[in-house]
Point group: C2
Chain length 408, copies 2
């Protein structure tokens, strides 16, 4: 994880690195393979909270409940389950999500409105509430300051590994930590709060300021990744601030808020890239960088068209720079540019100059880059000064295998 | 092919069924495997012509030349090659496309402005003009009224078979034919003239009237199919009318124009469905039908989101109705509706009522439909009266195999 100066440094561990946070992960039987499927994250003292949610019109019951609870701006706990999305489950689904919050609140002795709920898994099936209730009871008993790792495991679905990131920075003599965890490998698309992520900090900061900072960080990270262009009904990024580091409160308009923003940005971007890197069936992580766009909107459109094109993505899997597909994607993106002025690079290797091939040797050099696990596709449009970045994966036969068989 | 009454009946054969048309297909060496790669279609007497072109900003040289020649509204010949798209080839590409038109015009003794050019294949490589010139010479020598089949073969790339359709209808005592052929299996996406198609009729009709009728037919057919959401730089649908059936000219505002429209609609839809059915790696052809949309635009957005979703497409390949992915796609489409009022069907089998599952038996019944080669996914949004239809394919491992290795 690269951090941008400002005294922000990478740190080991996930949520467990943040003062004032306990967590637990258990297996309650929602996943038939016996893997962990229920996680609980608790703030020792009520914390301030910010969150962003899916922009899908179809929203899961836990999203609706958590949105309602966000209005109170206070956080005591988040309960998450995998194996079942509790989406398209009607009134019963809402009642089930409410009951999850109520049960956690009861056992912790906190107000129900401070408990947030998140679910991930198959859409359209009712939660087995007997299993969930038992799992919540066990999770509360197992809460510990070092339980973050197990909790991170319990929210995975098709993910192949835990996704955690943490940074620290000083405020006066105190060290403040921002740490997070995420899940997500499929139904990943830009322009929304994509997937589930929990971020915690022991900084003291108001809910309003935290919400604004989180919105900025999400726009440059989770909303810039794509695996398949599909948007989940359950996406949620939640960030809470315990203040337990003992540092002075961070106020809007102060330089230290800029440092907190840089820390949040670094954690969100690290988690977002972990999600893209672990995209279903992915063997490559490509940064798509558009330069010289006519406007920020057009640069973003161009980046999205390239990042989501199945033909570009299969080219990356094939490790052969069929750059005509990048040109075709740019051309249908809605961005305005002169095709005879476009330059294309893979990392620093030029492939196309002024819309035409630089020849077989240039393509062979680019192909050597495509054989790496990570690289950057750069398009210079020469239509203005705007730029945009997105992260995408290749499209492999394994993606199809995973998604043709997901429910069975 | 279903036709809608009006006296329009299906007919055997492709372009060869149209009076006043000769064609030829030859192998000139652009395709390294020795398969046919150059086709010529000629109207015995100059015909009226209409065409639609790709809306991609990046347009191949033959598209630019054909657009210019369309201004003259007269058609003598169309020369097509496969194996090389002549796109992103700069000024030399334009000179090469012009030379193809000039060479055909010279050999036929017709004006160069009446010769249209179309190319399909790899983007960014220069045409081998020696091979093309030799191929044009051979094609002119082999022109015949029954050469349509060979010509159809010569424009294929990843297509697995010829795509031809024809209908006939009476005008007075004369029988008039509308016939067409198409190619296309990848880089297929809606909202543009997708792929290459040539349609001919021996009706007599002005270029203006023909252009309007073609535009309508394309909007309901070629622009309603998707294989991978990518738009080619070389798409072109060209329709010419020889008048050689000897029937009276069809004028704007007359009932017989309605019959010609129905005939054009039927041929375009039949060809479009052949393209979708032959989509790269496709094992299924699904009609996506949206009912009860708030507006035609929103119904179309909803149909597109479902038809292009990789998760819906892998579900079809897996033959397991993971309908939550259809709900998620509808929800991110931009269409407005109440998720708790949505109904979903596979053919006439109901799966979801009022946004919730109808249970495992209903899903099992739907899965039996998904095992067929063709079926319809119907979403009732209950938000208005607008409807939309699109045709899509499943997404299989074979699509990835084809496109990861296309150039090598």
């Amino acid at each position: 994880m690269r951090t941008a100066g400002n005294g922000v440094v990478a740190k080991r561990g996930g949520l467990s690195a943040v003062a004032g946070v306990r967590a637990a992960g258990v297996a309650c039987g929602l996943k038939k393979n016996g893997r962990p499927d229920l996680a609980l994250v608790v703030a020792d003292e009520p914390a301030t909270v910010a969150a962003t949610f899916t922009q899908n019109l179809v929203q899961a019951a836990p999203v609706l409940i958590s949105k309602r609870h966000l209005r109170g701006r206070r956080f005591s706990a988040l309960v998450l389950n995998s194996g079942n999305a509790n989406a398209c489950t009607g009134r019963q689904g809402l009642r089930d999500a409410e009951e999850m919050a109520r049960e956690v609140a009861r056992l912790l002795g906190r107000p129900m409105g401070e408990v947030f709920v998140a679910s991930t898994g198959v859409i359209g099936r009712r939660l087995e509430m007997g299993a969930v209730r038992a799992g919540i009871g066990e999770a509360v008993r197992r809460l510990s300051a070092t339980g973050g790792g197990k909790a991170a495991q319990a929210i995975l679905t098709t993910d192949t590994g835990r996704k955690e990131a943490a940074v620290a920075f000083p405020i006066g003599r105190r060290s403040v930590t921002v740490a997070g965890r995420a899940k997500g490998a499929g139904m990943i698309a830009p322009r929304m709060a994509t997937m589930l992520a929990v971020i915690a900090t022991d900084a003291a900061v108001s809910a309003r300021t935290l919400q604004r900072a989180l919105g900025r960080a999400v726009a440059q990270s989770f909303n810039c990744i794509t695996v398949d262009g599909d948007t989940s009904t359950n996406d949620m990024v939640l960030c809470f601030a315990t203040g337990a580091a003992g540092a002075p409160a961070i106020r809007s308009g102060t330089p230290v808020l800029g440092v907190l923003q840089a820390a949040l940005d670094a954690v969100c971007l690290a988690l977002a890239k972990m999600i893209a890197r672990d995209g279903e069936g992915a063997t490559k992580l490509a940064e798509v960088r558009i330069q010289g766009g006519r406007s920020a909107r057009e640069a973003r459109l161009a980046a999205e068209a390239v990042a989501t094109s199945p033909l570009v993505k299969t080219t990356l899997f094939g490790q052969d720079i069929n750059w005509g597909r990048i040109m075709a994607a740019l051309g249908r993106s809605g961005a305005h540019f002169d095709p005879t002025r476009v330059d294309l690079f893979v990392d620093e290797v030029p492939v196309v100059r002024r819309g035409e091939s630089l020849g077989e040797e240039a393509e062979a050099a680019a192909n050597r880059r495509l054989r790496r696990r990570e690289f950057t596709l750069i398009a210079g449009l020469h239509a203005g000064r705007a730029s945009a970045r997105m992260w995408t994966t290749d499209l492999s036969e394994e993606y199809v295998r995973i998604n043709a068989g997901y429910r069975s």
